[in-house]
Symmetry: C2
């Protein structure tokens, strides 16, 4: 698979790169960011996936996430994909809303026209991009972890729950924990998957836990001043599901923090170190 | 003086704020960012000024600078002003170039029409904004340091050299060290101050050192893969001036680093700690 390098910048002794490739799954060019920390020739490194939230590209966390110092110290490759297919012919929300379509792929394989052709972010993240990463970067695919923010927290939780042998640890900032039961999720899952909620279960972390899926390790940070907490995120549903299922989890309410990258960057290094301890 | 709060976000236990006020010096509304780390009621904290480079606003370092963790640990207030006046009636480069006019105030008090009315960034940074800071923030104005990047490195060096009793330490990333002798500086100083180079000396770090100005402590980091190094930055002129004058200085060439915030953020925490040691 061919990979085009859009930019590289030395940072924290490693290389922050931005790359583009023609995706088989989405049928579009896809852009993603990878930070490779300093390492010895021939050495292969653990991989931490970061899935972004609504409206984001690969660039938001790359610019504002403050992960490189910790990834360099822990020798972890940090991968930040885009949040949807983009480009000519990719359908968007009919009204251009921020919470569906472009920038809002919700990490699903869409089943509904006109979205099913390009909106294949589940297969892109779970299958295509890992193969590309393994081919082009010094990645130890036997040591992977995944994290995300908001919609990307939903992505990290559900991808982690569906692939418990692949990801040794899963963490999230401000995740959408039960998309089947909140407005953002109802719109997105309905629009991409259709009205039959049986197809939604694979994309709902709380529903997956209730059906028996488990994670090896789970860390969630949620700001209590987050405007989306009560209506869209509903962290309490995840706490209840974990408690009922016996899923071990560290779920922390962080007083005074909001939904922004000021919150994420505050706790990013701690999340990286937490993953690193489980990837060693 | 009245201060309008545009935004506040909790970060690293403190508050990252963005503020606006009507500036007496520039005759415009001016926006700036301040990070106040966690502290005890009534406590006053050291102040670190950060002056940004060409094209930047207060927001670039606020989003990409990765200073908050270190400022929280060291209990330092971090202040990031804008780089020029902006708004209706503020003249720009006649051709809209990035290196003069809006976003390119060069930290001078302009003497040439039509710039002299609004382009008073020297007095704004040296006089007006410190008074505003002292009035509205828990700032210990007896303990100040200053740093900057590129054009802002020029600003930090020259403001530091003109005010050696105020700033205990000065540092810079990729500074323009001798604007009188490089294209960016010749255009800016000529355009703002006029053709008589006698007026330029106050705004040229190397010239100030050659005339006897000194800094209590100086740290400079410069990437050797910086595209602007040879023509615009010319770090060697600062090294030579410091050596000839007996000015103590730590001037480091960092291999492989470029002019971007990926470079700045790599060494930011180290600069903050270096200032902190001198502010204690």
């Amino acid at each position: 698979m061919t990979l085009e390098t859009l930019s590289t910048n030395k940072a924290h002794g490693g290389v922050q790169g931005v790359y583009r490739h023609d995706s088989r799954e989405t049928g579009t060019a896809m852009t993603f960011a990878v930070f490779v920390p300093p390492h010895e020739p021939g050495e292969i490194l653990s991989v931490l996936w970061y899935l972004s939230g609504l409206t984001c590209t690969h660039a938001n966390v790359m610019e504002k996430g403050e992960y490189r110092a910790a990834c360099a110290a822990e020798k972890i490759i940090f991968v930040a994909p885009d949040t949807s297919p983009r480009g000519d012919g990719v359908p968007d929300d009919p009204e251009g809303a921020y919470d569906f379509g472009l920038g809002a792929g919700f990490y699903v394989d869409a089943m509904q026209a006109p979205f099913a052709t390009h909106y294949r972010m589940r297969s892109y993240i779970e299958t295509e991009l890992p193969a590309l990463l393994a081919e082009h970067f010094p990645a130890d695919m036997g040591r992977q972890a995944i994290m995300g923010h908001s919609m990307g927290g939903h992505g990290a939780l559900t991808i982690g729950l569906r692939n418990p042998m692949r990801f040794r640890s899963v963490s999230a900032f401000s995740p959408i924990v039960a998309p089947s039961r909140v407005p953002w999720g109802e719109k997105a899952l309905g629009g991409y998957l259709g009205a039959d909620k049986a197809a939604w279960v694979d994309y709902d972390a709380v529903a997956l836990i209730e059906r028996g899926a488990r994670l090896p390790a789970l860390l969630v940070d949620q700001g209590d001043a987050d405007n989306f907490l009560a209506e869209q995120l509903r962290t309490g549903l995840l706490e209840a599901a974990c408690a009922a299922a016996g899923q071990s989890a560290t779920i922390r309410m962080q007083p005074g923090y909001d939904h922004s990258y000021y919150f994420i960057s505050t706790f990013m290094a701690e999340h990286v170190r937490w993953h690193a301890a489980r990837l060693r």
